[in-house]
């Protein structure tokens, strides 16, 4: 099929960006969205033009690198990552708008590539359990009830792609932050740092310039891993509990 692409082009972080229009032909419906962009880039290179920069790596929907807003939707029209979106979701002759994640905490590096290091710093602020290598007790020493283990897993599935921030009208990172807090705080291993974890991670999240939550729910709709909106409720509860318990 033949498509018209309108792609955000921006030379570097300091440059002004704008949408550029490209035509691509001979696109198969079996292609993934990124393979469609590969096709465009091969043509651009041969024409001596700068290919479109975009982040991608595993192309299996698990590394969280790919990050495109397609026709206004983070990761496009299906509930999956961009790399797992296939061209059969589009029709011959369609015009497709492709933009980078938009948030001031995710500055554009080039074209469709943004800097998501703010997420790493949120994890560094407390998104871990202090368990130095070698200090671990026997794995069966503290059993975890299955519902708690499942709850932890469901939140641990977050791939850190940033679609929640991209979709949020406020550029908030609540869903990302809450997923990690819920994962670790429900486990007995996470209990000793339960309060400091949530306080420090929320403080770092604010520090990075993410917006606040208005519970619009767009984050959970965009999340390719289905982290529920209720995750944020859980974080709020943990945060209120921690402010009561910890004197700062």
């Amino acid at each position: 099929m033949k498509l018209t692409l309108r792609v955000w082009r921006q030379k570097n972080a300091d440059a002004e960006g704008a949408m550029s229009t490209y035509e691509v032909d001979g696109i198969s419906s079996d292609m993934s969205f990124l393979e469609m962009l590969d096709t465009l880039n091969e043509e651009l290179i041969l024409r001596g033009e700068d290919p479109v920069a975009f982040d991608h790596d595993c192309r299996e929907g698990i590394c969280g690198a790919c990050s495109l807003v397609i026709n206004g939707d983070a990761h496009g029209p299906e509930r999956t990552t961009t790399c797992q979106l296939h061209m059969r979701s589009f029709k011959d002759g369609d015009t497709i708008d492709i933009e980078p994640w938009r948030a001031s905490a995710f500055p554009v590096i080039k074209d469709l590539v943004v800097d998501r290091s703010a997420f790493d710093r949120i994890i560094q602020a407390g998104g871990y359990i202090t368990a130095p290598t070698g200090a671990a007790p026997e794995a069966h020493a503290s059993p975890v009830p299955k519902p708690d283990a499942d709850f932890a897993f469901e939140h641990a599935e977050c791939i850190g792609c940033g679609a929640c921030v991209a979709a949020c009208p406020n550029g908030a990172a609540m869903l990302f932050t809450s997923a990690k807090i819920n994962h670790l705080n429900v486990l007995p291993q996470g209990a000793p740092e339960r309060e400091t974890r949530v306080l420090d991670m929320v403080a770092q999240m604010d520090e990075e310039g993410f917006g606040g939550c208005t519970l619009a729910g767009e984050c959970a709709t965009a999340c390719p891993k289905g982290i529920p909106l209720m995750s944020i409720t859980g974080m709020n509860k943990e945060w209120l509990r921690a402010t009561r318990k910890v004197k700062r």
């Binding site: 948030a103 917006g211 519970l215 729910g217 709020n236 209120l240 700062r248």
Partner: protein
């Protein structure tokens, strides 16, 4: 702790949730009181007078009322300040819009922001109209609330402003009540349907209850 709360986005939302719930509680009482207008000028004016004497002899005349007013002013200021600061922050966090527009993306947020501004302006008008009488149509009479209400709702703009504001209130409560529950960590998967239903019922009851007054005047049931 106060510092932690006020400095944090989650904390400010907590302030909004608590102040919002205080105002909601007040609105329920206010609406019930308003409905007394259907039982005639006597009962309504008497109720107005009682509001000033609640708590006597322990409290002096109007002390309780002023206490409530102070709490409400604090709630409104806290609610509005937090909302303003959070909104500023949210807009800064998402400075550039997507070229490809998706209208649904900010429905709830937009309703809350514009609804909040409408309600804020309404409260000012409402106090100037029926509490101080500054902008009241016709002669404002201290201690004769029944007549004052009838006067206000005998003008087209009084009705329009009031009904629009009450519709905004309904939408505001609908998202706000449920949001407050999430902010305070009271939501859960099992409770979500109940919370949403409660929010809808509260919104509907309050809007209908408040609008019943101008409707009563317009239809001549109250005159």
């Amino acid at each position: 702790m106060a510092r932690t709360v006020w400095d944090s986005t989650v904390g400010k939302k907590t302030v909004m949730a608590v102040s919002g719930l205080i105002m909601l509680l007040y609105l329920v009482a206010h609406m019930i009181g308003n409905l007394k207008i259907y039982f005639g000028a006597g009962e309504f004016n008497e109720y107005g007078h009682w509001l000033r004497t609640v708590g006597e002899p322990f409290m002096h005349y109007e002390w309780t009322l002023w206490l409530i007013r102070v709490v409400l002013v604090v709630a409104v200021v806290a609610h509005a300040t937090s909302a303003y600061q959070l909104s500023r922050r949210d807009i800064r966090a998402r400075p550039s819009k997507y070229v490809h527009k998706k209208p649904r993306a900010s429905y709830a947020t937009r309703t809350m922001r514009w609804g909040g501004i409408i309600l804020g302006l309404f409260i000012v008008w409402h106090i100037l109209d029926l509490t101080t009488g500054t902008v009241h149509p016709g002669g404002f009479q201290e201690g004769r609330p029944y007549q004052n209400v009838v006067d206000t709702f005998s003008t087209w703009y009084g009705n329009t402003i009031y009904i629009v504001a009450m519709l905004a209130l309904g939408l505001h409560i609908r998202h706000g009540f449920w949001s407050a529950a999430q902010t305070l960590g009271a939501g859960s998967r099992t409770r979500d349907r109940a919370l949403k239903a409660t929010a809808n019922v509260l919104a509907l009851l309050l809007t209908a209850g408040f609008i019943a007054v101008p409707v009563g005047v317009m239809t001549g049931v109250v005159s």
